[in-house]
């Protein structure tokens, strides 16, 4: 709660210390001073800063984030329209990274020092080192322009989930690849650690099959450290989604943030920062809960 208050205030301060007058930017180079003054009044920018802060706080309590300077629409509504696209993208990527990362990492740990393990490590370094936007361009060039298997732009028809999913494939894959590599490496390291534990030796000694030892004991006990990495990964996906949205020309909160910052659209920037902050808090909370679900020994504070 306190964190949220700090962020709300920070979002306000950030937009106010940013140089550039939103009224002048909105009206362009040929605006007369009188017109600028009028628009400033309409935006309530002529009032003292503490009065602006007070109005801002009073409105936030009523979940009213004001109207955008740029599009004249309510910020809350715009954000509500935009956030599902970012959510889909992040969920899609995290699913790809988990579905690839955990099995590949486990396999590499079990078959340690085999050819498979030796291929996994350099591949993951390659995936981590490749800039996402460059990979996105490469993928677009091959799959959308050259082979024309996937759509080039946009997020598809919002009322048709097949179209939405189809437009999601490339961005989710590109965004998830790096995290998949990180999860693979982390899983491999954790499973190797766990396989050295005493209880694994006990499980083997009492005659359990290797399959049971691995899936019931080794992987189960590795899930907790992996969960914390997944939590961190979702956060970095949130950052990466900004770039993915721009390259793939998808709508979304990240792109909204970038566009609004260049347009000095204060209410929209504040709204986007708040939404991201709330998302960050929720993700951290869910990560904490997942620890408890994955390992009942941990008590929640």
């Amino acid at each position: 709660m306190l964190t949220l208050l700090v962020i709300i205030t920070a979002a306000f301060i950030i937009t106010r210390v940013t140089p550039g007058d939103p009224a002048e930017i909105l009206l362009g180079d040929y605006a007369t001073p009188e017109l600028v003054k009028m628009v400033r009044k309409e935006m309530e920018l002529d009032k003292p800063i503490w009065a602006q802060y007070f109005t801002y706080m009073r409105k936030i309590i009523r979940v009213d984030l004001g109207t955008s300077f740029r599009t004249d629409r309510e910020v809350t509504i715009t954000l509500l329209e935009q956030y599902p696209y970012t959510l889909h993208l992040c969920l899609g990527s995290i699913m790809i990274s988990i579905l690839f990362g955990i099995p590949l990492g486990t396999l590499a740990a079990i078959k340690r020092k085999s050819w498979f393990d030796k291929v996994i490590l350099p591949t993951s370094v390659l995936a981590i080192s490749t800039p996402m936007f460059w990979l996105a361009l490469l993928v677009l060039f091959f799959f959308s322009i050259y082979f024309q298997w996937f759509p080039l732009l946009g997020a598809g028809n919002p009322n048709n989930w097949v179209s939405l999913a189809y437009h999601l494939v490339l961005p989710a894959f590109v965004l998830g690849l790096r995290e998949a590599a990180i999860i693979t490496r982390m899983t491999r390291a954790t499973v190797i650690d766990v396989l050295d534990q005493d209880y694994i030796r006990t499980a083997r000694a009492k005659g359990l099959t290797e399959r049971a030892v691995i899936w019931k004991y080794a992987v189960r006990n590795s899930l907790n450290p992996i969960a914390s990495i997944v939590g961190l990964d979702i956060l970095s996906l949130l950052g990466g989604s900004v770039i993915a949205e721009v390259v793939f020309s998808r709508p979304g909160v990240g792109r909204l943030l970038v566009d609004s910052i260049s347009a000095r659209d204060y209410p929209m920037v504040q709204g986007a920062i708040l939404l991201i902050a709330v998302a960050v808090i929720i993700i951290n909370f869910l990560t904490d809960i997942s620890y408890r679900l994955l390992d009942p020994r941990i008590e929640l504070e």
């Binding site: 964190t3 700090v6 962020i7 950030i14 210390v17 940013t18 140089p19 370094v125 390659l126 981590i128 080192s129 490749t130 800039p131 996402m132 936007f133 460059w134 361009l137 490469l138 677009l140 060039f141 322009i145 990180i182 982390m186 390291a189 450290p225 956060l235 970095s236 949130l238 950052g239 990466g240 900004v242 770039i243 721009v246 390259v247 990240g254 943030l257 970038v258 910052i261 260049s262 920037v269 920062i273 991201i276 902050a277 960050v280 808090i281 951290n284």
Partner: protein, 287 residues
Amino acid sequence: MNKNITSRVISKFKKIKIWRNPMISVSLGFVIFVLIVAIFAPFVVIHDPFQNNLDLLLVSPNKEYIMGTDQYGRDIFSRVIWGTRESLKIGLLSILIGASCGIFLGLISGYVGGLTDDLLTRMVNLLLSFPVIIVAIIVVGIVGAGSTGVIVALGIGITPIFARIVRGQVLTIKQNTYVEAARALGAGNMRIIIFHILINISGPIIVLVTIYLPLAILAESSLSFLGIGVSPDTPTWGRIIADGRAYIQSAPWICLFPGLALIITSISFNVLGDGLRDELDPKLRVR
């Protein structure tokens, strides 16, 4: 005094056996190569990287222009070389800012403790919970785009990472008897911090720098790609790719070569960083 620090760091490096690993020594070789190219860029370029040439628009790679030319007829090879200089400069400066601020805050936080530590840790955790790229976008929005803006933004993004790890290290090292011994001998706080604590966390710091330098270079190129990074006349790798994006169909080489330079450099730093980490401080592995 200064010589003492240098010689200790060097002797620590000499003990490292990782140079026998071919992957790591090749990476080190490439990192040194990239640094040399960056320093001597004006002598490496074949053509003027800024010179427009309307007779040679979007020429595909050939003997004269080994990486082709862009939409203004500028030589891509020369621009990639110049980009090495610009990208590394921004990466190194932002790491320098981020690391110094982070080390400073971490030292204070870990050494002083109490309320100062509490407040600083809270601030660091708040910043850390946001993705670096979003922090950077917001900071660039405030301080304005351009090289300086990007360096400051990335520096602020990197600061909490260093601060948190340095704080953790300081907390452990502070417990050691040699710190107590130094204090008993009458050493002041400054002396203890510099000669007993800072010197003992130099290993992890070197590792962190090698790990976060490629990330800083990647982040710079991402910002430039988004159009909120360096100004258009600064050819960093990210900027060249962003400029070539519209021509990906007709002239893919504009994007291809700077991207490859970016990837190979990033891989070299990552492999080197992993190797150094395993050798100098295996505890840092959890990432």
